[in-house]
C-alpha cells in the first residue's frame, strides 16, 4: 500500500493528480472515461464573470511533440458554472479547483466573491493565459501586478488560493516570491509557452490569432526547470505541470519539488491519461519501495 494523499497547503487531495485547466472542461465530457472522484482534484476551465467568446478558429495547431492553442478562455460565465458544472462535480464526489480569470483586477475578485457560496475546494488564479489581450499573462509578468491581484483575491477568501504562473517571464522566481508574499497558498506552473507556427506555402500563421500557447511533451524540460527553481525560491507548495503523460513524468515533477501535478495535453491523445498517471505514480512507488508519495517531493539528488 502506497500512501497517495497530498496536501496543497489546505487543499487535501486523495492523490497528487489533477488536470490542467482548459483541457478537461469540468469533467463531464470525459465522464465516459474518467470517474472524477478518483482524481486528486478536477481543475475547471477558466471562468470569468460574465463569460467570454474566445478567439476565432483555427484555435490550435499541432507541432512536433506539442501543440499550440489560442482558445482565448471561452467560457459561459460564473453563473453557468455554479448552476451546472459545480453541482455535477459535487454530486460525483470530486475535489474541485476553480480556475478564475479576469480582464481586470476587480473581475478576479468579483468571480471569487460569486463563488464563495458554491461547492469549491480551492481557487486557481489564472494570471498566465497568453491568449487574451487584457488580464491573463499581462498580469502575471510583473511583480507589482501579481501582488495586486493576489492580494485582492486573498482579501475575499479563506479558501486555498493557488496562483498559476506564466513561464513567459525573465525570472519566474521573482514572480513566485511576489505571489507568495501577497498571500498565495500554493503556486501552479507552468502555463503554456508563447509560440507560433507558420505554413510556409501559404505564408500564413496556423493560428488565427497568430501566436498561441505551447503545451505537451515539448515543454516538459522547461516546466521541470521552473518547478525546480520555484521550489528553491518559495516555501509554499507547487502544483507542477507541463507535458506530463505518464506516472514517471509526474514523479520527475515531484522530485523537482512539486507536491501535486496536473495532466493537460495528454488527455487529448489518451482520455484515460489522468488515471494512468495516478496508477503510474503508485506502481513507481511500489517498485521503488516508496511508501508515501510525499517522500518524493523535492527528492531530487544533486
Amino acid at each position: 500500500m502506497v500512501e497517495m494523499s497530498v496536501n496543497l497547503n489546505g487543499l487535501a487531495m486523495k492523490n497528487p493528480v489533477t488536470v490542467a485547466s482548459g483541457t478537461f472542461a469540468a469533467g463531464q465530457e470525459y465522464a465516459d472515461f474518467v470517474d472524477v472522484a478518483k482524481l486528486g482534484a478536477v481543475t475547471t476551465k477558466g471562468v470569468s464573470l460574465n463569460g467570454w467568446e474566445g478567439n476565432a478558429a483555427p484555435r490550435i495547431a499541432e507541432v512536433p511533440s506539442g501543440m499550440l492553442n489560442s482558445i482565448g478562455l471561452q467560457n459561459p460565465g460564473v453563473d453557468h458554472l455554479k448552476a451546472h458544472e459545480l453541482p455535477w462535480l459535487q454530486g460525483q464526489g470530486a475535489t474541485t479547483i476553480v480556475n478564475v480569470s479576469g480582464h481586470s483586477f476587480q473581475e478576479y475578485v468579483d468571480v471569487i466573491n460569486a463563488l464563495e457560496d458554491a461547492p469549491v475546494d480551492a481557487y486557481e488564479v489564472n494570471i498566465s493565459c497568453p491568449n487574451v489581450d487584457e488580464g491573463g499573462m499581462n498580469m502575471g509578468c510583473s511583480c507589482a501586478s501579481v501582488e495586486q491581484v493576489v492580494r485582492g483575491c486573498r482579501d475575499v477568501t479563506k479558501r486555498p488560493l493557488i496562483v498559476k504562473l506564466t513561464p513567459n517571464v525573465t525570472d519566474i522566481t521573482e514572480i513566485a516570491r511576489a505571489a507568495e508574499s501577497a498571500g498565495a497558498d500554493a503556486l501552479s506552473l507552468i502555463n503554456t509557452l508563447l509560440g507560433m507556427a507558420i505554413d510556409a506555402k501559404s505564408r500564413r500563421p496556423l493560428l488565427s490569432r497568430v501566436v498561441g500557447g505551447l503545451s505537451g511533451p515539448a515543454v516538459k524540460p522547461v516546466a521541470l526547470r521552473m518547478v525546480w527553481q520555484c521550489a528553491q525560491a518559495v516555501s509554499i507548495p507547487i502544483l507542477g505541470m507541463g507535458g506530463i503523460a505518464c506516472g514517471e513524468d509526474a514523479v520527475e515533477f515531484m522530485l523537482a519539488g512539486a507536491t501535486a501535478v496536473a495532466v493537460g495535453t495528454a488527455n487529448f491523445s489518451n482520455p484515460f491519461a489522468t488515471l494512468d498517471v495516478v496508477e503510474g505514480i503508485r506502481s513507481f512507488c511500489e517498485a521503488e519501495g516508496v511508501s508515501d508519495v510525499n517522500e518524493l517531493i523535492g527528492g531530487l539528488l544533486c
Binding site: F33, A57, I60, E62, P217, F268, S269
Partner: protein
C-alpha cells in the same frame, strides 16, 4: 450511447489516387454503433511527435464482419504516417462521436452533394436513405476523374449513376459541382417532385455555395463541418464553428449542422 476508446486493427490500407487512401479496420464496436454523419477520433500510435488524434468519418461499415472503412486524404505528417500502416497494425479510436445527419420525417426525395474527400461521410447516409425507400440523387465533384473514388460505391448504393463534375473536365461536367446542384434542384422542381432534404460535405466554399442554392429552393439542408480538433469529446473548445446561436463545437454540437445556422 456513451463514448468508448476501442482498439482497431488495420485489415487493408490501399492507395486509391493522388492523396486519397482507403483503410479498412476491424473495429466491431464502431461498425455496430456508428450513425451516418458521426466520426471517430483516431490515435497515431506510431508517431511520438503527434500529441493529437485525428478525426475521421466512417465511409462504410459491415456489421457482420465488424469492419469499417475510412476514406482519407494525406494532408500532413499524421495522415502521411497512416499510409504506412500495414495489415495487423493496432490503433485506438474514440467513437462514436457527434450529431448524425437528421433527415426530416417523411422525406421522399433527397439530394447528396460531396466534394472531394467530403464524399466519404455521405455514403452511410446514402445507404440508410435507400433502405428507407427514399429516392436519392448523388452529385460528386472532384479535381479530376481519378479523384472520383467514391463514384462506383454510390452507384451500387443508390442504383443509379451519380452526377459528376471535375475541375479539369476529365469526367462529367467541367467546373464546380454547384452547377449540377442548380440543375438538379430545377429538374426536381419542374418534375413536381422537389427534394425534401439535402446533405452537403466538401470544401467550405462548395458547402456555402451549394447550401445557399438548396435553401433558396426551399429544401432543408445539412452540412458536415470540419475543424482542427484536440479532445474530440467537447471539452477543449478548439473546434468551434460560428453559428447564428454563437460558437458551437464541431465535435459534439456537430459535425452535422443545419446549413441555415452556419455563419460562413
Amino acid at each position: 450511447m456513451g463514448l468508448e476508446d476501442t482498439s482497431a486493427r488495420v485489415v487493408a490500407n490501399k492507395h486509391l489516387f493522388g492523396p486519397l487512401y482507403l483503410m479498412e479496420l476491424d473495429c466491431p464496436a464502431v461498425a455496430a454503433n456508428i450513425m451516418p454523419g458521426q466520426f471517430v477520433h483516431m490515435a497515431l500510435p506510431d508517431r511520438d511527435a503527434s500529441v493529437l488524434r485525428r478525426p475521421f468519418s466512417i465511409f462504410d461499415r459491415d456489421e457482420d464482419t465488424g469492419h469499417i472503412e475510412i476514406l482519407y486524404q494525406t494532408v500532413g505528417a499524421g495522415t502521411q504516417a497512416m499510409t504506412g500502416w500495414q495489415p495487423g497494425f493496432e490503433t485506438r479510436m474514440i467513437g462514436c462521436i457527434g450529431r448524425p445527419w437528421e433527415v426530416p420525417f417523411s422525406t421522399k426525395r433527397a439530394l447528396l452533394v460531396g466534394g472531394g474527400v467530403g464524399a466519404a461521410p455521405l455514403n452511410l447516409l446514402c445507404q440508410q436513405l435507400v433502405d428507407e425507400g427514399v429516392d436519392v440523387d448523388v452529385i460528386l465533384g472532384a479535381q479530376t476523374e481519378g479523384a472520383l473514388v467514391c463514384r462506383k460505391r454510390y452507384e451500387e448504393a443508390c442504383g443509379k449513376e451519380p452526377r459528376c463534375s471535375t475541375d479539369d473536365g476529365s469526367f462529367g461536367r467541367e467546373g464546380f459541382a454547384t452547377v449540377l446542384v442548380e440543375e438538379a434542384l430545377d429538374a426536381a422542381q419542374a418534375a413536381g417532385t422537389p427534394y425534401d432534404y439535402a446533405a452537403v460535405c466538401g470544401p467550405e466554399p462548395l458547402m456555402r455555395a451549394a447550401s445557399g442554392l438548396i435553401m433558396d429552393a426551399g429544401v432543408a439542408c445539412q452540412v458536415s463541418l470540419e475543424r482542427r480538433m484536440a479532445c474530440g469529446v467537447g471539452a477543449c473548445l478548439s473546434c468551434v464553428v460560428e453559428t447564428v446561436d454563437g460558437r458551437k463545437r464541431a465535435c459534439v454540437d456537430g459535425p452535422i449542422f443545419d446549413a441555415e445556422v452556419v455563419v460562413w
